[in-house]
């Protein structure tokens, strides 16, 4: 009964979403107040209905209702309750329901936090979101219904993919979807502005906090995915340029360009067309990612069950959403003015270069991801494009963008004076050179690339710190008195510096050893000793495992014992490795247990990963910077203030 309630709730949501789509957009175009007024409550109603539906699915998992096909396919009676709950979004159908929950949740948030916006604008935005939601609802109802019954019901389920039985599953997809779906709000703002013919700095100011919010969730989602792969998959890498990873990274790159471009449009009124195109593109590449992952056109580790019907539907949805937006763009863009002019050296031009670099980098990643498919479509054979391509293309594109991070905030809008910028950048420059050349010697091995990476990191970090100190001194007020969006920018840039340092050091100084060890053997990892003490058997709730016992010590002083595991889940006989890691912020000692080699010997993987935590710490700092930026008080100006400003503008014009 409960699953049917869930099913019914999403059918109802479809009707509300279509009504919101039609009444919102048409009502705003014709100026019909009753239709416009429908948009806000309709957004809340959809959120409520999808929540009911989502809870019904969660309940089906918790109650072990194996007569629901999706539950039987993705869980098992021995699975602990929290994984059963997370299994709700562990498969294709349920993860789409999660997507819908977020989609309607964002729309509901828009209707809640847009009190200061004109009603007609909100109705347009929610109307566009209603169309997008309706598209996804149709997809769920026609091709991926999670509430489909299995008659007769199964005695027990098939279990959740062991790879997904991890804390990572509970958090990774929700964060990632919050990001993808969040960009649909920015997309809706852009379409609404194009429909209304009001592409101005007010539009940019409305969009900015939403874009930053979506971006920060996406940043956290990608970082968590990388962390999960590192810990759970036992491969010791943090990024693989896998098609699915790429399909989350491309929206991140374009989203990053978007939040910078929005800044220019808000402050200076320039780049309007470019910003609107980026807003459309960010959501489009999120949809493209969904298509690539779920249609089965590319093979990847993130294998969702694929079905040709789904692919056709998703491609149609993608084509309709993006095609109509780009057509609208082509019709409206020629009438949009150019906005404020700017000199060759100015913050605008630096941000433009940064945007172009990010967009080209994103295109290069898309090309690398789609190239195998393209060749296949042209009948030129099949091949796989690997990390060598991405590293060769991506690093040279990102290097100038990283150098610009320090320079951008020192440049004035409209026209910047080079001597004034030099004055602020001279200290970061020599710090970068000294640290870049010096640090690799201290770390034990010098190479130009390592020096460059560490130097860039020092350049950004010192420019951020010096920039903050100078501003605090110049304004004679405390750090906290500075605008939050400005602090947020610097914090996010500092996060980039931490990230670059982490990537450079881990690539340059990690050591990876694959050995055969007998109990009693000791091996060096960095300047630590790892002693193998044997393997014992243990039983978990739904698996049996072999647990290695290792002692980590430094200069003969014991630090702790480590227990990597090799698990065999009852429901599948594919063995899973659980790595054991000792982390202290500056390095990881990473152990994973391989095969028994006979006579008590085991194959063991011993990794020493210096600074690897910095990669994820850097991402968290970027996200915190985003959070700080959206908490800026100017986004929460009361409607009255805006009205006053409008009348003033009207009088001036």
């Amino acid at each position: 009964m409960i699953p049917e309630i869930g099913h019914f709730a999403i059918v109802l949501t479809l009707f509300v979403a279509m009504a919101q789509g039609i009444l919102g957009t048409v009502g705003a175009a014709r100026g019909i107040p009753a239709w416009i007024a429908f948009a806000r409550p309709a957004a809340h109603a959809q959120f409520l209905l999808v929540t009911v539906s989502f809870l019904a699915l969660v309940w089906s998992f918790l109650a072990k209702d194996f007569s629901v096909l999706y539950v039987a396919q993705n869980s098992n009676s021995q699975l602990p309750w929290f994984y059963r709950m997370a299994a709700t979004w562990g498969g294709h159908e349920g993860s789409l329901l999660l997507w819908l929950l977020m989609q309607t949740g964002w729309a509901s948030a828009v209707s809640l936090f847009s009190k200061q916006l004109p009603d007609a604008m909100v109705a347009r935005v929610l109307g566009v979101l209603g169309w997008v939601t309706a598209g996804f609802l149709l997809f769920v109802l026609f091709t991926s219904n999670p509430f489909e019954r299995l008659v007769p019901g199964a005695m027990d389920g098939m279990d959740l993919n062991p790879l997904l039985q991890d804390i990572g599953l509970i958090l990774h997809p929700p964060l990632l979807y919050m990001g993808y779906v969040g960009f649909s709000v920015v997309f809706a703002f852009a379409i609404a502005a194009l429909l209304a013919g009001q592409l101005d700095s007010t539009w940019a100011r409305w969009s900015r906090p939403w874009a930053t919010a979506a971006w920060l969730f996406l940043t956290l989602g990608i970082a968590l995915g990388s962390w999960w792969a590192y810990f759970e998959l036992g491969w010791g890498g943090w990024w693989f340029w896998d098609p699915v990873e790429n399909s989350s990274f491309v929206p991140w790159l374009i989203g990053t360009a978007l939040i910078h471009s929005l800044a220019v449009t808000e402050k200076r009124g320039s780049f309007k067309n470019w910003t609107v195109l980026l807003a459309i593109s960010t959501f489009s590449v999120s949809l493209l990612g969904a298509f690539l992952v779920r249609s089965g056109v590319l093979t990847s580790v993130h294998a969702f069950a694929t079905d040709p019907g789904r692919g056709v539907f998703l491609l149609t949805l993608f084509g309709a959403v993006v095609g109509s937006s780009l057509l609208l763009f082509a019709l409206r863009a020629p009438k949009v003015g150019l906005g404020g002019r700017f000199a060759l050296i100015s913050r605008e031009s630096l941000l433009l270069i940064n945007n172009v670099l990010l967009a080209v980098a994103a295109s290069a990643v898309i090309l690398g991801t789609l190239y195998p498919l393209l060749l296949d479509a042209l009948g030129l054979g099949k091949l796989s494009v690997g990390p060598p391509y991405f590293n060769a293309v991506f690093v040279p594109l990102m290097a100038p963008a990283l150098l610009l991070i320090a320079a951008g905030p020192t440049a004035n809008w409209k026209s910047a004076k080079i001597p004034a910028m030099m004055k602020q950048l001279v200290h970061p420059a020599w710090i970068a050179v000294v640290v870049g050349i010096g640090a690799p010697f201290l770390l034990g091995r010098w190479s130009a690339l390592l020096a460059f990476g560490i130097g860039v990191s020092a350049w950004i970090a010192s420019a951020v710190i010096i920039g903050i100190v100078q501003r605090v001194r110049a304004t004679r007020s405390g750090l906290m008195a500075q605008p939050r969006s400005w602090l947020g920018m610097h914090l996010a840039h500092f996060g980039i510096a931490v990230f670059v340092a982490g990537v450079t050091v881990v690539m340059g100084y990690e050591s990876e050893q694959d050995l055969s060890m007998m109990p009693g053997d000791t091996v060096m990892a960095g300047d630590y000793e790892v002693t193998f003490r044997g393997v014992r058997r243990a039983t978990g709730p739904n698996y049996e495992s072999e647990v290695g016992d290792f002692l980590l010590s430094k200069n003969g002083r014991a630090i702790r014992s480590l227990h990597p595991e090799k698990r065999a889940y009852f429901s599948s006989d594919m063995p899973m490795t659980e790595a054991a890691i000792d982390a202290n912020g500056l390095r990881h000692v990473y152990l994973s247990l391989g095969e028994a080699l006979g006579d008590g010997a085991w194959s063991v993987r011993v990794y020493y990963k210096p600074f690897v935590d910095w990669i994820w710490i850097g991402c968290v700092l970027m996200a915190l910077g985003g959070l700080l930026a959206i908490s800026d008080r100017r986004y929460r100006l009361k409607r009255r203030a805006v009205r006053k400003q409008r009348t003033a503008e009207g009088a001036g014009a």
Binding site: L315, L327, G386, S603
Partner: protein, 174 residues
């Protein structure tokens, strides 16, 4: 022409490619070799280049030829499944190391386990051409008489190994 139409045109081309991509199944390309005798070759063993291997020596057995390389990411993904087929189900599997440097390949096997009965080295990919290798990984099922019965392109998933390859091998072994 309106230059703002360019994004739309680019997008239409992209959708066209994707739509065509949907009609292709990356893992199911019919091979003209199915039902034909497996092309003969003689290649050195990876670990000891003096020794050689040729399919002739597998006559009388149902065996798998798995084409892999250390630079190939999906190979790593399917490796536990290949290992499982060899260890738990006792299938004789020959690994054809395709266009790879022997040092990298040996290190890769050391790291990820080696359950292959033979690992042979096809440095130039010449055998790959005879077998019509599209990309790595690929897996062939060859019967007792040396006839190719099945070809799988791309990484083998756990369920494909269980539901397609294993039953086929068992049938051929009867």
């Amino acid at each position: 022409m309106n230059r703002f139409l360019l994004p739309l045109i680019g997008f239409i081309v992209l959708v066209g490619v994707l739509a065509y991509g949907l009609t292709l199944k990356p893992s199911e390309v019919p091979s003209p070799l199915i039902g034909k005798p497996a092309p003969d070759f003689t290649l050195p063993e990876l670990a000891s280049p003096d020794a050689t291997f040729s399919p002739e020596s597998m006559k009388g057995k149902v065996w798998l030829l798995n084409v892999w390389a250390s630079w190939c990411y999906p190979c790593l993904e399917e490796h536990p499944i290949i290992t499982d087929l060899a260890v738990s189900h006792g299938l004789p599997i020959v690994g054809l190391n395709y266009k790879d440097s022997p040092e990298d390949a040996i290190a890769w096997l050391k790291r990820n386990g080696n359950a292959f009965q033979h690992v042979i080295s096809d440095l130039k990919g010449s055998v790959g051409i005879d077998y019509g290798v599209y990309g790595v990984p690929e897996t062939y099922v060859i019967d007792r008489a040396g006839i190719i019965r099945y070809k799988h392109i791309g990484a083998i998933s756990f369920s494909q190994a269980r539901n397609e390859i294993l039953p086929l091998v068992r049938k051929l072994q009867e």
